[in-house]
């Protein structure tokens, strides 16, 4: 019994040695495989959620994401909708956004990219105010806070 335990232990130790030797050269491959697992995607509360629709205006494209209310088990009452401006963005931005495509404008967002300063004027009871708004590598992004029920 002792001999079996010893053999098993030493085998396990050598497997550990092999794992450590192949770990760094194989890291790229291991990471890629690990990255394909179902849970390996950034939560919409951080990624901003999927893009719902886009509108182009010359060299600038407005992308409105789907509203994010994700919680642990079910949706929460509060969330946000992310709005991006990509490409060549103007110094002054002013857009009226209907994020849920019900033909009723939900908020007006104004951005002065030079100052920089942002403002949001809610037009719907579900819009509670401006969250983060910042210049990004692709242009400008803003998150407008929402609540599910007005």
């Amino acid at each position: 019994m002792n001999k079996i335990k010893t053999t098993a232990g030493i085998t396990w130790a050598f497997l550990g040695l092999i794992l450590m030797i192949i770990l760094f050269p194989g890291l790229s491959g291991f990471s890629k495989s690990f990255g394909t697992l179902p849970f390996m995607k950034i939560n919409p509360r951080y990624s901003g959620g999927e893009v719902a629709f886009t509108q182009s205006a010359g060299a600038c494209t407005l992308a409105v994401h789907k509203p994010v209310f994700n919680g642990l088990v079910r949706d929460r009452n509060t969330g946000f909708v992310q709005v991006d401006w990509r490409g060549k963005i103007p110094d002054q931005i002013r857009d009226t956004i209907d994020y849920d495509n019900d033909n009723v404008p939900d908020f007006v967002i104004a951005v002065d990219t030079k100052k920089p300063a942002s403002d949001c004027c809610p037009l719907s009871g579900r819009v509670t105010g401006l969250g983060i708004s910042s210049r990004t590598s692709f242009g400008w992004a803003a998150r407008i806070n929402l609540r599910k029920t007005p």
Partner: protein, 218 residues
């Protein structure tokens, strides 16, 4: 509209954590008093489950009553925003310090207030009375959740806070029937004491944020 501060949001999380950390205190202080009474007598597993359910249901009812009373007093006395902020913040800090002291001094001759129930003659009343005594024991964690309930804008939010508190504290009672078989009771107790202390630290920070924010915002 301003973004709610950390002290205002995460209502359910705070309450659940407070319940979780207080539950360990309840279990350690009173568990070994309640355990024989919940487990005593004949009737098998169903009887134990029934008694435990009655005990927990009693606690839940009492908590809803306390939630209502806390909210009512909050509405009556914490009228202005500044009063609400300062009083809530100060009470958080005070009760949290007591909670930490409670967790440190817990091993020193803490008696279970529920022990009086053991003198009742009709044993069928024991789970109900234990539930009543356990829920109105006014331990520091309960004082904190009462403060939280009083600070809520709506009765529903106060109920939600107490429900989360009840859920967190009840988790510790569920394995009670298996308590005798637990090998690492001492370790679990130690971890529970630390969790209580950490929950206290969370509320000290929340209280300080409320008070400091209140001072700076006038």
């Amino acid at each position: 509209m301003n973004e709610p501060t950390l002290a205002e949001k995460s209502l359910m999380t705070d309450s659940f954590i407070l319940g979780l950390s207080s539950g360990s205190a309840c279990l350690v202080t009173c568990g070994m008093v309640m355990f024989p009474y919940i487990m005593a007598g004949r009737g098998g597993v169903m009887k134990i489950v029934l008694d435990l359910s009655v005990f927990l249901a009693t606690r839940l009812v009492i908590y809803f009553v306390l939630a209502t009373l806390a909210w009512y007093f909050g509405q009556a006395f914490l009228t202005s925003g500044i009063v609400r902020t300062f009083v809530t913040g100060s009470l958080y800090v005070m009760f949290a310090i007591i909670l930490i002291w409670y967790s440190i001094g817990r091993k020193k001759n803490m008696k279970c207030p529920a022990a009086i129930v053991t003198k009742v003659e009709d044993k069928r009343l024991v789970p109900v009375l234990l539930g009543v005594v356990n829920s109105i024991g006014f331990c520091p964690a309960l004082l904190l959740i009462l403060t939280k309930g009083a600070a809520q804008g709506s009765l529903a939010q106060s109920w939600l806070a107490f429900l989360a508190f009840f859920t967190g504290s009840s988790l510790w009672f569920l394995p009670l029937p298996f308590a005798g078989k637990l090998k690492k009771k001492q370790v679990i107790e130690t971890i529970g004491i630390f969790a209580t202390g950490l929950a206290g630290a969370i509320f000290i920070i929340k209280g300080l944020i409320l008070i400091t924010g209140g001072i700076l915002n006038g």
